[in-house]
Amino acid sequence: MKKILVILLLISLIFAFSLNLVSADDTKNTSRAYELAVDFTTKHPYRKTASEEGVKASEYIREFFENLGIENEVQKFTYNAVVSDNYYYNTVVEKRDDQNVVGKIKTNKDTADTVVIGAHYDNTFESGTGTGFYDNGSGVGIMLALAEQFKKEHDEGKILPFNLTFVAFGAGEYALRGSEHFISKLKGEEINSILLYVNLDTIAGGDNLYVYSDEVKTMQEDYFLNIARKSGVKLNPPPANKGTFYASISKLGYAHAGLSSDNVSFMNRDILSVSFSSFNWTAFVSDVMDESAVHENVLGTANDSAKSIDEIYGDSAKEKVDGAYTLVYNGLREGGFADYMRRAKRENTDYSLLTSRYFVPAIGAGFLIIVIAVILSLSKNYAKKHPPKKEDSGFSGEERPHVFEEFD
């Protein structure tokens, strides 16, 4: 009996040890997207919107495209920014120069269909903040890894049946001016030829990887949820309670975690989009912003660096970065992608009436008219039940008091 127990113990120890060995091996297996994100944020930790360091960071991305042999261009733009020491009392408007970096891989098919993959490269660097690995070095890393992979396959003859455009947006942290500029430069037919815009922003921290597409369920959201199931990637649709707040950046007049990135600029022009991010949506609804239910907040703090994210989130951060990369790659490589997105464009629920400027006021006015009718009807009913008595004031006719009698 003792022998059997000892053998069982040995077997279980060996089994447990082998499991540990497997997981230890896994932790060493860092992805290309993660590596590129670390490299980018280590070389360009300070890339505040419209700064000289920001220009250098965009140059890194342009050189990356150049080295891969991807056709590229730098889009320069200017905008007015509100800057002040005190938002309420000392508002100053400043003219800023910024730039997007665009890379293109063209298909050999005779089609203008294009998929745009974008991520903003600027960060909100201030003294005391990190290197912006989470926001948005991670998105840039994934985009560069995708560009590298698709270009490699393109050169090997595995050509996609549509064009690919990669855009690193400037001023993503200032009212999405970079993506707005990118779209403003597109002609009508170019906008119509965009099959899908894939947004990559803030993917590393948080508890889950999310995909957001619109204010209703869409076909493109379902598409990526299916790809996630097939690929074994944990992907969540947006929660029903999105923690909405008023904001003017979206044409909807409000925003939430899904409506806070460059995908909004594309949505405002009715272009199909999906946005991947990984911080909790409750961040905007609770008293204290909580990016994660488990870990401390990282965005905008000294902990937003590759080292700290690695310490705080460990493999979870790598899983999310790898997950987003896998989803976009597998999604675009799936047969029938272009046809599906064309169909999605036609068949997605059109809710524009609900958000039109006149819809809610019209309902409100209609309701108030009904209320007036109800009140008048109530009043009429009371009058019918209790008809007013005739002349009960005592101040009419012959019995009027003679208040001026003594002066007569």
Binding site: E173, Y174, A175, A240, G300, V360, P361, G364, P388
Partner: protein, 192 residues
């Protein structure tokens, strides 16, 4: 000495038909604060987040202020409620002097009604927790509909118990004129 007593409006001979007025006014105000917070759960800290998004103060995240904003906004709502309720009474009262309800009585009814309105509105808004669709703008509509229905019930109740038969018809119309005027201005504001 002239007798001007006929100029002085006689105090209404109040006969309360329920024990509502006996609840401590501060307890009712505290309940009202909780009800307002429940109803407005989705719309707090809106302004702060917009400043962060517009890019003016990208790193402006006064997390420590959020609980204060919650309590302050609720307390301010109660304060405005008290002021506007009193003004409303002062406006209606001279137009319908025979209404047998004091300001204290009117306010206790109004507080109770608004507690119910806020709780009902908050419950209706909970549908967003289980829905795929979230259009924030519908929150305003839900507020207007629930508030209007609540006020119709309140004024119908006051009309039944505190208003002489001869002016019942007049009172219900007068009571709603200020409220409907404000609501129409709101609707026009949405259009402009």
């Amino acid at each position: 000495m002239q007798n001007f007593s006929f100029f002085v409006r006689p105090e209404p001979n109040v006969v309360y038909k329920d024990k509502l007025h006996k609840v401590n006014v501060w307890i009712m105000r505290a309940i009202l604060l909780v009800a307002f917070a429940f109803s407005d759960f989705y719309s707090v800290n809106v302004t702060i987040m917009e400043t962060a998004l517009s890019g003016a103060l990208v790193n402006f995240r006064p997390e420590f202020l959020y609980p204060t904003v919650h309590i302050l906004s609720g307390a301010l709502s109660v304060l405005f409620f008290e002021i506007i309720g009193s003004l409303y009474y002062s406006l209606i009262r001279p137009l319908c002097p025979p209404v047998q309800l004091t300001k204290k009585g009117f306010m206790s009814y109004l507080r109770f009604t608004y507690v119910l309105i806020s709780l009902l509105g908050g419950c209706i808004k909970l549908i967003y927790l289980f829905s795929d669709l979230y259009f924030y703008v519908f929150n305003n509509l839900i507020d207007v509909v629930v508030t209007t229905i609540g006020l119709i019930v309140l004024y119908a109740y006051i009309n039944k118990h505190y208003v002489p038969d001869t002016i019942k018809s007049k009172f219900i119309k007068l009571a709603f004129i200020p409220y409907l005027t404000v609501q129409f201005v709101r609707v026009l504001g949405l259009l402009l």
